[in-house]
C-alpha cells in the first residue's frame, strides 16, 4: 500500500477545508438576501398569526405586517409592536424566548390593550420532536391560549401556566393551558418562556 | 463533589443514551450479537465520549460561545462562533476515532476485525455527537463535570448494549419464526425495552 507522508496528509486536509469553506461562504453570501427575506417574512407571518390573521401568503406577509403594525418603545430590551388585530382591536406584540427539550423555542404573544389578556400566541422551535414537542407550533395548542389572563381574580400576576391535564386543579382555568401529553420538557419550556416574557413587560 | 457524582449516576441510568434518547442505535443493534464484542464496542464508545466531550467543552468555553474569545482581548468579547460548533465537534470526534482505529488495529486486532465497519462508524455515532451537543446545552461549571457526564453516558451506553447482547445470546435458544430471527426480533425487543424505560422519565 502506498505510504503517504505527513506533509501530504496535512496539506490534503487543509486544502479540502479551504475549498469547502470558500464554496460554502460564497453560496451562503449569494443566497443571503433571499434567506433574510424569508426569515423576515416568517417573523411577520408569526406575528400576524398571533394577531388573528391565520392565512396570509408568505409573499404578502411583510407588506401586510407593515400596514398593520408599528413599533413602540418597549419597557424591556426586546422589540415591541402595536398591531391592529383581526378583530379590530389594538394589541401589543410581546417577543418570547425560551428553551425546549432539544434547542431554542420562541414566539410572540399578542396581548390586549391593557396587557392583561392574551389575544393570541404563535410559537416556533428549532428542533423539537415531531409529533411531540413540535406540537407547540400547531394551531390546536396555540389557540388554547386565546382569552387566557395573566392576572388571577385577586389581581396578582400569575402568567399563564402550562400544566398537564388533571394536574392544574389549583390554578384557575383562565390562568392555565393544558400541556402536550408526552412532551413534558417542551411544555415546561413554554411555561417558563411565558413567565419570563410577561414578567419583563410587567416591570 | 456530590454534584459530579450526581451527574454521573444520572447519565448512566436516567438520561441513558440508548433508552431515554435513542441515540447510537445503529451500532447498538448491529454489534449486540454477542457479549464480548458488545463489551468491546461499549468500551470504545465510552472512551471516545470521555475524551471528546471534555475537549469539546474546552473548545466551546474558550472559543465558540458568545463572548468566549474575551480572553484574547476586549474587542473579541462580542464574537459568537457557535455556528461552527457542529462542524468543529465532528472534526474533533473524527480525529479521535481515527486515532482509536489505528491503535486498535495494531494492539487489539481481533476486536478490530470483529467490529468491522462499526468502528469507523463510531465517528458518526449519534450518541457521541449527541453527548457533545447535550453538553453544550447543559452548561456545566467545570470540565470535570463534563467529563463525569461523558463517562456516565458512555457507561450507560455500554450497560445497555451488553445487557441487550446477553438477551440476544439467550434468544438463540428460543423458538422464533425464521424471518423474525436476528435483526427483526432485536428491533422489537429494543422497542419494548424502550417503552419500559419510559417509566424512568418521571424521576
Amino acid at each position: 500500500m502506498k505510504s503517504y507522508s505527513n506533509t501530504y496528509m496535512f496539506l490534503y486536509v487543509s486544502a479540502l477545508v479551504v475549498i469547502i469553506a470558500v464554496v460554502l461562504s460564497l453560496v451562503s453570501l449569494g443566497l443571503k438576501p433571499r434567506r433574510e427575506a424569508n426569515v423576515q417574512a416568517e417573523k411577520a407571518l408569526q406575528i400576524l398569526k398571533a394577531s388573528g390573521y391565520a392565512h396570509v401568503e408568505r409573499a404578502q406577509a411583510i407588506a401586510a405586517f407593515d400596514s398593520l403594525a408599528e413599533e413602540e418603545p418597549s419597557r424591556s430590551d426586546g422589540e415591541m409592536y402595536r398591531i391592529r388585530c383581526a378583530d379590530g382591536s389594538t394589541g401589543h406584540v410581546i417577543p418570547l424566548q425560551g428553551k425546549g427539550l432539544w434547542g431554542a423555542i420562541w414566539g410572540y404573544a399578542v396581548l390586549s390593550d391593557d396587557l392583561t389578556t392574551i389575544k393570541g400566541v404563535s410559537f416556533a422551535h428549532k428542533s423539537e420532536t415531531p409529533g411531540l414537542g413540535a406540537k407547540i407550533s400547531e394551531e390546536a395548542f396555540e389557540r388554547s391560549f386565546e382569552g387566557k389572563k395573566l392576572y388571577d381574580a385577586d389581581g396578582h400576576f400569575v402568567s399563564v401556566k402550562v400544566v398537564p391535564k388533571g394536574k392544574g386543579e389549583t390554578i384557575a382555568e383562565e390562568n392555565r393551558v393544558d400541556a402536550i401529553s408526552g412532551a413534558t420538557i417542551t411544555s415546561r419550556g413554554v411555561d417558563k418562556m411565558l413567565a419570563d416574557g410577561f414578567q419583563r413587560i410587567k416591570e | 463533589m456530590s454534584n459530579i457524582f450526581n451527574i454521573f449516576v444520572r447519565s448512566v441510568f436516567i438520561d441513558n443514551m440508548v433508552f431515554a434518547y435513542f441515540l447510537g442505535m445503529c451500532s447498538y443493534l448491529a454489534v449486540s450479537k454477542d457479549v464480548k464484542t458488545a463489551f468491546g464496542l461499549g468500551l470504545a464508545v465510552s472512551f471516545v465520549l470521555a475524551v471528546t466531550v471534555p475537549v469539546n467543552y474546552l473548545m466551546d468555553k474558550y472559543l465558540l460561545q458568545a463572548g468566549a474569545l474575551s480572553w484574547l482581548g476586549e474587542r473579541f468579547a462580542s464574537v459568537d462562533l457557535s455556528f461552527l460548533s457542529l462542524i468543529l465537534f465532528i472534526a474533533v470526534i473524527a480525529g479521535i476515532v481515527q486515532l482509536l482505529e489505528m491503535v486498535m488495529e495494531r494492539y487489539l486486532p481481533a476486536l478490530y476485525m470483529a467490529l468491522g465497519i462499526f468502528l469507523p462508524l463510531i465517528a458518526v455515532n449519534c450518541a457521541i455527537l449527541g453527548g457533545s451537543l447535550f453538553m453544550q446545552e447543559k452548561n456545566f461549571p467545570t470540565v470535570i463535570h463534563s467529563f463525569s457526564y461523558a463517562l456516565g453516558s458512555g457507561l450507560g451506553w455500554l450497560l445497555a448494549i451488553v445487557a441487550f447482547a446477553a438477551i440476544r445470546e439467550r434468544l438463540k435458544f428460543s423458538n422464533i419464526p425464521e424471518p423474525l430471527r436476528g435483526n427483526g426480533i432485536a428491533y422489537i425487543i429494543t422497542g419494548l425495552l424502550g417503552i419500559g424505560f419510559m417509566a424512568f422519565l418521571g424521576i
Binding site: 503517504y4 409529533g131 | 428491533y187 424502550g194
Partner: protein, 196 residues
C-alpha cells in the same frame, strides 16, 4: 442491473444493513419530515459517494474518516442553505435534522463500503439506491405512526370526526420512538419472509 436494486429490499440499509436507524426513530412521527429527510439523505449520499469515489485514489487511509466527514458536511450544509433560500417551509423541517444527516450512518457506511473502492458512476447509483431504500422504510413507518398516532396523513385529518365521537382514540404510543423500532422489526419480518 439487478445488483443495484439490492438496497430496496435484499440489501436495505435499515432493514438489513442496520444503518440509519437513529433518524428513522426521530423523524417518522409524521410523514412530511420523513419525506424531507429521505430526499435529503438520498441527495447527500449520492453526491458524497460521487465525490469520494472521484477522490478515492488520492485519500490517505489515515485521514479518510475526516475527509469523508468533511465532504458529507459540505453537502448537507449546501442543501440546507439552498432550501433556506428557495423552499423555506421545507428548510424549517430540515434544519432540525442537519446534524442527524451528517451523522447518518448510511452515508458514512456506503462511503466506506462502496465509494472508496468503486468507480464514480456506480457509486452515484449506489448512493441513490440506498437513499431510496432508506426513504421507503421511513415513509412506511411514518405512514403508520402518523395515521394511528395522530389520525392525520401529511397533516391532514383522515380519521372521520364521527369515529372520534364514537370513542376512537389516537394511539398515543405510536408517537413515541419505541414504536418506530417495533414497526421496523415487523418490516424486517416481512422483508425477510419475502426475500428468503
Amino acid at each position: 442491473m439487478k445488483k443495484y436494486l439490492g438496497p430496496l429490499s435484499k440489501d436495505n440499509p435499515i432493514l438489513v444493513q442496520t444503518l440509519g436507524v437513529c433518524s428513522a426513530l426521530a423523524v417518522t412521527a409524521q410523514m412530511k419530515p420523513a419525506v424531507v429527510m429521505a430526499l435529503s439523505v438520498t441527495v447527500v449520499c449520492a453526491f458524497s459517494n460521487l465525490i469520494i469515489s472521484l477522490l478515492r485514489n488520492t485519500i490517505p487511509p489515515r485521514i479518510r474518516i475526516i475527509v469523508q466527514l468533511l465532504v458529507v458536511s459540505f453537502f448537507v450544509i449546501l442543501v440546507d442553505q439552498l432550501l433556506q433560500a428557495m423552499l423555506y417551509d421545507v428548510s424549517k423541517i430540515l434544519s432540525v435534522f442537519v446534524g442527524l444527516i451528517i451523522t447518518n450512518c448510511i452515508i458514512m457506511g456506503r462511503l466506506e463500503a462502496f465509494a472508496l473502492s468503486h468507480k464514480p458512476l456506480p457509486s452515484l447509483v449506489d448512493g441513490v439506491m440506498n437513499g431510496l431504500g432508506y426513504g421507503f422504510v421511513l415513509v412506511v413507518v411514518a405512514f403508520f405512526r402518523e395515521l394511528l398516532g395522530s389520525g392525520t396523513l401529511w397533516n391532514h385529518p383522515v380519521v372521520p370526526a364521527s369515529w372520534y365521537a364514537a370513542g376512537y382514540m389516537n394511539n398515543g404510543l405510536m408517537i413515541l420512538p419505541p414504536m418506530a423500532l417495533i414497526l421496523v422489526g415487523v418490516m424486517i419480518w416481512v422483508n425477510n419472509s419475502l426475500t428468503s
